[in-house]
């Protein structure tokens, strides 16, 4: 596409907001009551985080990986691709994220909940609660029916935000390679909603950027403390 820099999200939007939200409705109807199981896994993830330890971290990684894989296949490839030419690429990106989660979290144990800073624990827990419990509840508040609810493990936005929440509570050395795809998705999703004039367009991108900001600050603060700790007494 020539003069690509002159195209904005609104020029590239291929579908109406009505079609977009109907996509979630038809998807939810097709897989009901799988949403209940997905919610149960989301709540279980909260419990595992509270429990802590290496095995809990590996279990969280597997839950997240299954969620990413499912969203990539069932949502992006099977549904979203019917109205968005880019959805096939999204599906592949979600599959890559699932493999990264399995390798780094499931095999190498890098997602074990540790003693993160209080701010990070609160932000991480907030993101988890928001993505697992509050995200579906937002649907009627935004004037849409329950059947269009976006559920963790089945819809991309809450799955990406929950992943970022977990990454915030895995200590001062997060697995950075697990950040780019969720953050990129949150920005893509936000720009899509913006192009559709959705009132909640900024919510997911801001939450993602907040998570990245906190992770970076946490890392810098940790390094700072280490340097100060080594100073001669």
């Amino acid at each position: 596409m020539s003069e690509w820099w002159t195209y904005g999200p609104r020029d590239l939007l291929l579908f109406s907001s009505r079609t977009y939200y109907r996509l979630f409705e038809l998807y939810n109807l097709e897989w009901w009551p799988l949403q209940l199981a997905a919610l149960a896994f989301g709540v279980a993830m909260l419990g595992l985080w509270r429990h802590g330890g290496d095995r809990a971290g590996r279990a969280i990684a597997v839950i997240l990986a299954v969620g990413w894989l499912w969203v990539g296949w069932a949502f992006h490839a099977q549904r979203y691709a019917s109205i968005n030419l880019a959805a096939a690429y999204f599906a592949w990106a979600f599959a890559v994220q699932a493999l990264l989660l399995l390798w780094l979290g499931g095999v190498r144990g890098q997602l074990a909940p540790t003693q993160a800073a209080r701010l990070h624990r609160r932000a991480g827990l907030g993101l988890l609660l928001f993505s697992v419990l509050a995200f579906p509840l937002m649907t009627p508040l935004l004037g849409r029916g329950w059947t269009q609810a976006e559920v963790f493990g089945m819809a991309p936005d809450p799955t990406a935000l929950a992943t970022l929440g977990i990454l915030l509570v895995t200590g001062r050395t997060p697995a950075w390679v697990l950040f780019p795809i969720p953050v990129a998705w949150c920005l893509v999703s936000g720009s899509t909603l913006w192009a559709m004039d959705a009132p909640d367009f900024a919510l997911v991108p801001l939450a993602a950027l907040l998570a990245v900001g906190l992770a970076v600050v946490g890392r810098l603060t940790g390094s700072f403390r280490q340097v100060w700790g080594r100073r001669p007494k």
Binding site: L13, L14, F15, S16, T19, R22, R79, S82
Partner: protein, 306 residues
């Protein structure tokens, strides 16, 4: 290749086609949309067609597909012919094919689609895929979408036209982009159609493209006549001026469409819609009186002041 020369015949046909619109805005509202001739052939085409960007990209949603079919049914019932789509429009081609099958493949369809692929060698395969999605024996018009690889695609399209696999060849752009390139193609290639953006706000085409189209005998399809709804959102906050009744306008949509299709170089405008009442309203814009040059100027000035 069997191309019509860009000479006397084209100019004569173009002049004949435009003649009724150069006179004063008189006459009673007609029940069928007015037509204008395609300069290269003289074939009459209703002044309002049907676009499919966004509106027909409804995926596998059966309810929405049926609603799109009803829009198409109302379009044909109101005298419409030209439906335009592209491989870039997601599921729109498939949805059009679904509708055409349900409607029993209307014989008055004028099927306009585009080739949109960087590799010129892949053009024929993409056109064949599009044809199957529409479920038609051949396209009436095939256009190079957004001028993408037009140097590679145009020879293919001309060859297909010569072989009877297409009836007309065209190029497209939108949003006012690449007008210089479009002008170059219009001046150098024996194309039948051009498609670009033109509306009450976006009027750059009046400077060079529309006059060149008349001069070269090239039919003009106008996309984004409502600025994808933004123009109507803006106009809709105010009441329709009383003098709009002079040209049988009953809505802002008809006001905007009548401005576009009353330009003598325009062959067809292609507004897109998801609503049956809107498609009837759009076709209605071509059924009543059209503004003359003085009234066109008044319309543009009125909108510019808003």
């Amino acid at each position: 290749m069997a191309h019509f020369p860009n000479g006397t015949r084209r100019r004569l046909l173009g002049a004949l086609a435009a003649t009724p619109l150069l006179g004063p805005a008189i006459g009673l509202a007609q029940s069928r949309p007015a037509t204008r001739a395609i300069p290269s052939s003289g074939e009459a085409l209703p002044l309002v067609g049907l676009g499919s960007w966004i509106t027909f990209n409804v995926g596998n949603d059966r309810v929405a597909r049926d609603a799109s079919t009803e829009v198409m049914r109302a379009f044909f019932q109101a005298g419409g012919r030209l439906i335009d789509s592209s491989p870039m429009y997601g599921s729109a081609q498939d949805v059009i094919g679904y509708g055409l099958r349900k409607l029993g493949r209307p014989t008055n369809l004028f099927a306009a689609d585009k080739v949109w692929i960087a590799d010129g060698d892949e053009g024929r395969a993409q056109i064949e895929t599009s044809r199957r999605l529409w479920g038609i024996p051949r396209f009436d018009l095939m256009q190079v979408h957004n001028l993408l690889s037009w140097q590679a695609h145009l020879p293919t399209l001309f060859a297909m036209k010569a072989a009877g696999q297409l009836r007309y060849v065209g190029i497209t752009t939108s949003h006012g982009r690449r007008h210089d390139d479009m002008e170059q193609v219009m001046a150098s290639q024996p194309i039948d159609f051009v498609q670009f953006t033109y509306n009450l706000i976006d009027r750059e085409a009046e400077q060079r493209l529309l006059p060149l189209a008349r001069e070269r005998g090239i039919a003009v399809i106008v996309n984004r006549p409502f600025q994808q709804g933004a123009l109507l959102d803006r106009l809709g906050r105010r009441p329709l001026p009383s003098w709009a009744a002079e040209i049988d306008c009953t809505s802002w949509a008809q006001f905007a469409l009548k401005f576009v299709i009353s330009h003598p170089a325009v062959t067809c405008a292609i507004p897109a819609t998801t609503r049956v009442d809107h498609v009837r309203e759009n076709l209605g814009a071509a059924a009543g009186r059209l503004p003359d040059q003085a009234l066109r100027s008044r319309m543009a000035a009125f909108v510019a002041r808003l």
